[in-house]
């Protein structure tokens, strides 16, 4: 990979992260109404309001507030929670492992479901298996996680008694949240893999592989799948980033102590610095994952480097 491409891509990512930070700092000003009143309620004392206004930087003009905030962010200082008075970075550090664990498990679930489903559908194009697999995928796209989650709890925890209802204790408690979060992504990946595989299966080199007498397994796995994987990698990266925001709902359903439930708690308490910290962390991770995906794509496919 040329270093010029690398530098250009990283510079673009950095610019976007700065833009994200800018937008997050402005968020409190973009919201209509008085944020201080929203946070403290109408009966708060004038002194408390003034103190909060000052601590959020709202007593200064917008550009000054935003610059001060960006300056603090550059030193990785996310401020402190209005509710618990603890540093936002500590709160996030406590919750991060649970979310990473959940996201990785959901990725594994998605890949394990999507790859066989996508291959099956492409191999049996137009057949019953194709219809069933794609119907299943469309269903997975359409069922909201906050409904799927409770249904899974009802079946596996209440009726069958196999898994805990909620919380984070041991591997068994990870199963249902991972299934819930992974389903939507599995559906997207399966659809993508099918259409990508269908395209590569009609390429000349696949015909050549067949003509020289290779078995169907070798044709699909060694020749078609490798090339079909390219667009899927992109979607995989985008979805991996999106998992973090999907985790907000899934974590709420299962009382999973991660970043998502931290964000929801902070919103309910109107704890703005924590909301800001979570949003910033999730979107920065998203940008980072997308950038890495782009780089991986360019590394896998020389044609991308030429045109990017």
């Amino acid at each position: 990979m040329s270093s010029a491409f690398l530098v250009r891509r990283l510079a673009a990512a950095l610019a976007i992260v700065v833009g994200v930070a800018l937008l997050t700092s402005l968020l409190i000003r973009l919201v209509p109404g008085d944020p201080v009143e929203l946070m403290l309620g109408e009966s708060a004392a004038a002194g408390d309001r003034a103190a909060l206004r000052a601590s959020l930087g709202l007593d200064r003009p917008a550009p000054e507030q935003v610059l001060a905030q960006l300056d603090r962010l550059a030193r990785l200082d996310l401020g402190e929670s209005l509710y618990s008075r603890r540093p936002v970075s500590t709160l996030i550090a406590e919750r991060l492992p649970a979310t990473v664990e959940l996201a990785l498990a959901a990725l594994a679930v998605a890949a394990a479901v999507a790859v066989p489903l996508g291959i099956l559908a492409a191999r049996r194009r137009g057949g019953l298996a194709d219809g069933a697999a794609m119907g299943l995928a469309l269903l997975g796209l359409s069922v909201p996680s906050f409904w799927l989650g409770p249904l899974l709890i009802l079946l596996f925890s209440v009726v069958l008694g196999w898994t805990p209802v909620s919380g984070r204790e041991g591997l068994a408690s990870l199963v249902l949240p991972a299934l819930t979060l992974g389903t939507g992504m599995a559906a997207v990946l399966a659809r993508m893999l099918r259409s990508s595989l269908l395209e590569t299966l009609s390429e000349d080199y696949v015909r050549t592989a067949r003509a020289k007498g290779l078995g169907e397994a070798a044709v699909v796995w060694r020749h078609a799948l490798r090339n079909a994987a390219l667009p899927v990698v992109t979607v995989f990266g985008m979805q991996a980033g999106a998992l973090l925001s999907g985790a907000v709902i899934t974590e709420t359903v299962f009382a999973w102590p991660g970043i998502g439930s931290l964000l929801v708690e902070a919103i309910q308490r109107r704890d703005f610095p924590v909301v800001q910290g979570c949003v910033l962390l999730i979107s920065t991770t998203y940008v980072a994952v997308n950038t890495l995906t782009d780089l991986a794509y360019a590394w896998l496919d020389p044609r991308v480097r030429a045109t990017a």
Partner: protein, 273 residues
């Protein structure tokens, strides 16, 4: 048209019909019947009663109206705003285009629902705030699509001819560009509708969307989860309605895309909930 597509269109007709007919129906979604708290669906109560004794069927129809109103408003606002911005950026080019592309990139950097959750949460609950939050996130997809479309169209001969005849920018956009961009945008809007229905329900589930006593399918699931063990119908019924509407909209979106021959990445679903 396949049987599945026909079934999907029928389901959507039921949804829209129920939502629009609501003011004319003899419903009592807020009437409390203490004797029937958590009553399961059965004889004389066809979808059962909720945790304070309100009829689930009536609340389901109110929820249908909520989701249709919010989703239609979001698609209308985000779709028209995004289309105009994207088309203008591509057509005018230069500085306008650079600023808008940067804005699109920044908004795209927020995954899915996250920005909407933060916005809706900070603005406080309410239908109008919900629409603002979802539209503020949703316009980006249309803007990006419209920009790409307009870029490929703006050097077409009929556009050049219109320019030569002295037509103004807005006239060219409206009469010469938009009609040719409609196909992909309609497909995007269909998937956008499904996304907005899911997002409204998701935010209401988190407690930052529609507030009690108003009913939304999302808030019905939220309230029902607490009583799931004794009255599973409180969770199953609204979730089923929601999934059916989203599935039907996605099916119609797939059908439209094939029919209008659009190669759109919309279905790769940036916004999975």
């Amino acid at each position: 048209m396949s049987a599945a597509t026909r079934a999907a269109l029928a389901a959507l007709a039921v949804w829209v019909g129920a939502a629009l007919a609501l003011p004319m129906l003899p419903l009592a979604p807020d009437t409390v019947d203490l004797a029937r708290i958590l009553e399961a669906p059965g004889h004389g109560s066809w979808l059962g009663f909720d945790e304070v004794g309100r009829p689930v069927a009536d609340r389901l129809i109110v929820g249908a109206r909520t989701s249709l109103l919010v989703a239609a408003a979001v698609v209308a606002v985000a779709g028209s705003l995004g289309t105009v911005m994207g088309a203008l950026a591509a057509y005018l080019g230069g500085g306008v285009d650079r600023v808008l592309t940067a804005a699109i990139d920044v908004f795209m950097a927020f995954p899915g629902l996250l920005l909407a959750i933060a916005l809706a949460g900070l603005m406080g609950p309410g239908l109008d705030n919900l629409v603002i939050a979802l539209a503020a996130v949703g316009w980006v997809g249309y803007a990006r699509l419209a920009r790409a479309q307009a870029l490929s169209l703006r050097r077409r001969e009929h556009v050049l001819a219109a320019q030569a005849l002295g037509a103004g920018t807005l006239r060219i956009l409206r009469l010469h560009l938009l009609p040719l961009m409609a196909g992909p945008l309609i497909v995007e809007a269909t998937f956008g509708l499904a996304g907005a229905v899911l997002a409204e329900a998701g935010l209401s589930f988190l407690g930052i969307g529609v507030q009690p006593p108003a009913a939304s399918w999302g808030s019905m699931v939220r309230e029902g989860v607490r009583y799931m063990l004794v009255a599973p119908h409180l969770v199953i019924v609204p979730g089923l309605a929601l999934s059916a509407v989203v599935l039907a909209t996605n099916l119609v979106g797939d059908w439209l895309r094939d029919r209008l021959d659009v190669r759109s990445p919309a279905v790769t679903g940036r916004r999975t909930t």
